[in-house]
Symmetry: C2
Amino acid sequence: MTIPDFKDIIDAHQLIREFIHCTPIFTSSAIDRLIGAQIFFKCENLQKTGAFKFRGACNAVFSLTEEQANRGVGTHSSGNHAAALSLAARMKGIKAHIVMPSNSPEIKKKAVAEYGGIITLCEPTLQSREVTLSKIAEDLGIVIVHPYNNSKVIAGQGTATKELLETIPVLDVVMCPVGGGGLLSGTAISAKAISPYIKVIAAEPTGADDAYRSFKAGYIIPSIKPKTIADGLLTSLGEINFPIICEKVDDILTVSEESIVKAMRLVWERMKLIIEPSSAVPLAALLENKERFSNLRIGIILSGGNIDLGNLPF
Amino acid sequence: MTIPDFKDIIDAHQLIREFIHCTPIFTSSAIDRLIGAQIFFKCENLQKTGAFKFRGACNAVFSLTEEQANRGVGTHSSGNHAAALSLAARMKGIKAHIVMPSNSPEIKKKAVAEYGGIITLCEPTLQSREVTLSKIAEDLGIVIVHPYNNSKVIAGQGTATKELLETIPVLDVVMCPVGGGGLLSGTAISAKAISPYIKVIAAEPTGADDAYRSFKAGYIIPSIKPKTIADGLLTSLGEINFPIICEKVDDILTVSEESIVKAMRLVWERMKLIIEPSSAVPLAALLENKERFSNLRIGIILSGGNIDLGNLPF
């Protein structure tokens, strides 16, 4: 795999533009007053399938050769990437094989099935997921699309920040959450290419701070038993993502669970937008570091809005 | 009071345009598939103060003479109109006196206070609310701004549908909820003036169906002990609103509480938008009457998004 650059993001945007939503950018004077900064929220919770993941999945699927496409794609995932890949494949008219642990919530299985994904259940271990997917890939010759450790996926995710900066060209800071690093690496490539003066700052739950520790150490430290309400950020950094992050990201801030819930509630109450806990992590970092960001113009990628309404933290 | 016409709505729009949000119009392919129609949601939940009420309050406040404005405005309300009038007054630089029942939820008192409203608590009866407000009006000479039985308020509310039809000019039906009739009468004036072929259809909870019964009877039947989760729709129709509704509204549909909660959950889950139960009532009517609306192009005013997150119906 090669490390993508901004040219790849421009190409990705050209390729996927007709399939994705150019999501709106919203502001909230109440939240601006509370933080003491001017914040522009790029609403990827309003993206198709309810998350930025659809951008990367689309770019991966629509970049396939016809021969690859005919064999189909696959991934093991129980989250937003699975739904995104399923819909992207359906729009391309090909099959998406999704390996999901047997204990995945019904709501997630239902979402994947609705978007046309072909579900194969496996034991709820990473090993079983990988083995099951490998077997399908071997049998059917499908292309495995990793949720973040994939150049096409990274380039797709970078289109969100490209759109943000095309609409709001002058920003001091761009922020996003970091899990596996797909969104963060794409964000950093776009932001630094468009303006080298923009700081790219990621936010991560303290209970899943492998990216923070890896960033400080200079080598990938895997996530071991992470524990956070931000269930999209449990994964370890990818090998393609890490060098991009080391080169282009200015800082990673960690935040408490309490701040995540507080930030999420703020967006729900003040902006009337449903975001999932992972999306609230950058705003949580602002809540915890008001002085540092005082009076700045800040773009935040609201990464997604998929949450079980029957199990809310408030 | 005179009955407003479309010219008043055009004037209102001109007057308030710089103060309000021109709210976005969203669609959902999942909801369209479910209903079998094409639905355009005008997102007044994203309006300032989280509800369409800000339009009417703004028009009332900015239409005052300087002498009236200097004395201030007032209302008795515990809901969205109180917050809307408070913010409109603050933007005009004048005082808003809000009479609220002493048992109003803290969250509502807080919202009014945050927008700068001056709260006077009273006994939790309609009589006490009216007497308390009259006394303030007498003492201070303020202008009382009724939440819906007011020409300026009606004209302001009508600007939402004007914006909707300026963006989506070809619609078969425009729908909104009906409580006191401020939104519905403004909606009907705009829709019928812009296109006489558009059907204007209101939706109302069966548990608070005074508008439905009044519409069928031809005279105002007051709401007695209404019971519904749609707490913005408990009031009786106003005297200015009723003749407009009789003349311009094509039908009023009543819906069950179950459908309201189902429709609300659909918008939360599929559109990632927080709407209050009252806003979900038109979509609930579509859920209950799919055949009637099959293949039509339908505009719905999502009236507001103010809801206590600590007390959700799911």
